[in-house]
Amino acid sequence: MNRLPEEKPLEVVRNEIRADAESARSRAPAQPARKPPKTASNTAPAAALRDEFSIPELSQAHFTSFLEQAFAALLRRPPDPAGFDAQMRLLVQGRSKIEILGNLRWSPEGRDIGVRVPWLLPRYVLAKCMRIPVLGYLLEWIVCLGGLPRIVRHQRAADTYHSARHHEVLSAFRGLQLELEAARTEIARLASGKVELGQRLDGLNDRSVQLHAEIERAAIDARELRHLVLSMNHWLASLRQNLSALELAEADQARHADALHADIASRVLALDAGRPARLDSWAQQLAGMLPAGAQVLDLCSGEDWLARLVGNGIEATGIDTNTEVGSRARSAGLSITVAEPAEVLARTADGSLHGLTALDAGSLLLNMPVSSFLAAVRRVLSSGGILVLGSGRAPASIASRLQGRANVELDTEMLRQTLLAGGLVDARPLPAADGTVCIVARNGGPKT
């Protein structure tokens, strides 16, 4: 089934109409009591079955009605176009109705049917005789002369009839004149309306022209705006590309710097022959202080320290700012994250660590006030958790120096006092074999 444009499918509409029809049928008031039907007035079929007609009966109708009645009565059928045309032509030529009736009655078809019309035959023969040249003319003269009084009577009746008809026609004509007058008035009114409509149409046309001009202007503005937007878009895309290139270059440069700093730091630290033993000693001592599987976070102490913590059974995670250091530590299988220590401490959950180490506390405190550092330490360490701070060199402090920053010089006592002042307890030096110390302290409990 087809669909209506942008409308319900036609089948849906049809179903709705069906439902509505049922609903209307049920809600409609009852049908009015039917009046008895009128009796049909068409009697033609009954007439056609009669076997006898009188001449006045058949000839009282006029023109086409006469022919139709004659065909129906004498041939019992409607006139066929050819037959109708032929008999009509005779009537128009002034032949008598008697002759037409005779033509039909004594046609082969009429003879077969054989309807009786008393006195038609002699009058038909007489009418036909009048068609004989010369003799027929004289005969018609005689017949007309004989029937002159009757013709005159008919003439008088016809005069009266035509006078009455003439009067009716005149009345109708006057009526028509009045209607014509009214029609002319209406036409005049419509004509004036047409002029007014024309003026309004002109006005509308003018407004339409203005509107079109404005639309055209708006279209030009829109095109210009579109051009500008496209240009800006292009410019923004270029800018984004340039920024990306700059960012890439900067990142590249930072990677190069990190690699350089890491390389320098490892060279410098390699010169410190006592560092491995020192770190081993501290790591072993620290492991002794912590429970098995203790969680320890190291801040920027170098991957060698991280490796030693792990080597002593500690679950150590390192934080370093140098991407190269991070990369090397991960290559060695250590857990390390490249990030700012202050940010990592801020994100670490309260009391989640058993230990925190920072062997290069000087470089740490370059980027983080000591008060913030101590507060963070106390928050992230569990109660009794261990803090180890050293003042030695690590890759971070070496990198700081390379970046031109001053080194924060811390002596161990100063560190110890700082930690005690910060609320940690049991702050004491943790000596190595070569005599180097770092400071170890415990988190005493929640900060008051």
């Binding site: 087809n2 209506l4 444009p5 942008e6 409308e7 036609l10 509409v13 049809r14 709705e16 109409i17 069906r18 509505d20 029809a21 049922e22 209307a24 049928r25 809600r27 409609a28 008031p29 049908q31 009015p32 039917r34 009046k35 039907p37 009128k38 009796t39 049909a40 007035s41 068409n42 033609a44 079929p45 056609a48 139709e68 129906a72 059928r77 409607p78 066929d80 176009p81 050819a82 109708f84 045309d85 009509m88 209406e186 419509l190």
Partner: protein, 361 residues
Amino acid sequence: MKAAILIPVLTSKDAVGADALAMASILEELGIETRVFCQSASGVERKTYPPERLPQFAGGPRDLVIYHYSTGWPAAVELLGRCRGFRIIKYHNITPPEFFSDVSADYEIACRKGRQEIATIATLGCELYLGASAYNLRELERAGMPVARGGVLAPFHRVAEIVEAEGDVALIKQLTDGSHNFLMVGRVAPNKGHLALVDAFDAYVRGYSADARLIILGKIDPRLDRYTTAITGRIDELDLSDRVLWIEAASEAQLKAAYLASHVFMLLSEHEGFCVPLIESMAVGTPIVAHASSAVPETLGDAGLIWEERDPWLYAASAARLFGDDALRAAMLERARLRYRQQFSVEVLRERFTRFLEPVL
């Protein structure tokens, strides 16, 4: 080459006459000398000739004869048998006599004779048979016409003249009083379904709104008085006399006015060979609700609401829906205009007619 149009009675205003005259004009525009042969003519300016002269004018092997078959006429069969050129039968259909059985014995006999002639015409061996619709063509096929010689050509019509005509202002004024107008156009004959139309109109008045008018526009034939009386009797029974307007012998302006002022064209006819008023409605823009009988579905297509059932409430509900559903009405009218333009405009019909003539041109 000469061309002859053969038609029993030529009247400019009936559908068959309009078709015949249009064909004659087109043939002349194609440069073919053309004459119209008929027994009688009325209201036609064109000169016509007696049928018996046809073989003398266009009976040669290179001539063309087109017979418009719409009534029984034995003389035509005899004339066609005497022509040796390209013979075309244009079949407009003949109403089955059963429709007239209780109405008019004259019409019943005339229609029976006319339909009895179908087999003779179909097997006459003419070179081309054109049905005004596929429905008509199927009748010829069933009567023995060779299928390969058949084609469909809708009748040429005077719809463009109606569209261009000025409507009768007084009638429009009379009809635009706020009532919904139901229109039926067609001669008052028993196959046209006027009784069912009155029932549907009554259903609308009782079920939806009493502000409605039924306009029955068409020639009233005194010989079908029994049928006309049955219609008026039904109207009286249903107490609808005040709501029914009869317009007999309408002028072009009145016809246009009736289409313009009507809200629905409702056709419940039971037999149509094509139905020109449908395409008049399509062209002028009157929504259509119709009963799917004979050639009506084919002519209407999807340009109106059409029902197989005869239930008057369906037609009443369809009219009510069209009155209230602007989108549906607009869509129907758009389709109707499109269908008229694509299928039934004179330009389209002319192109199809010329294509059918290609073998002889």
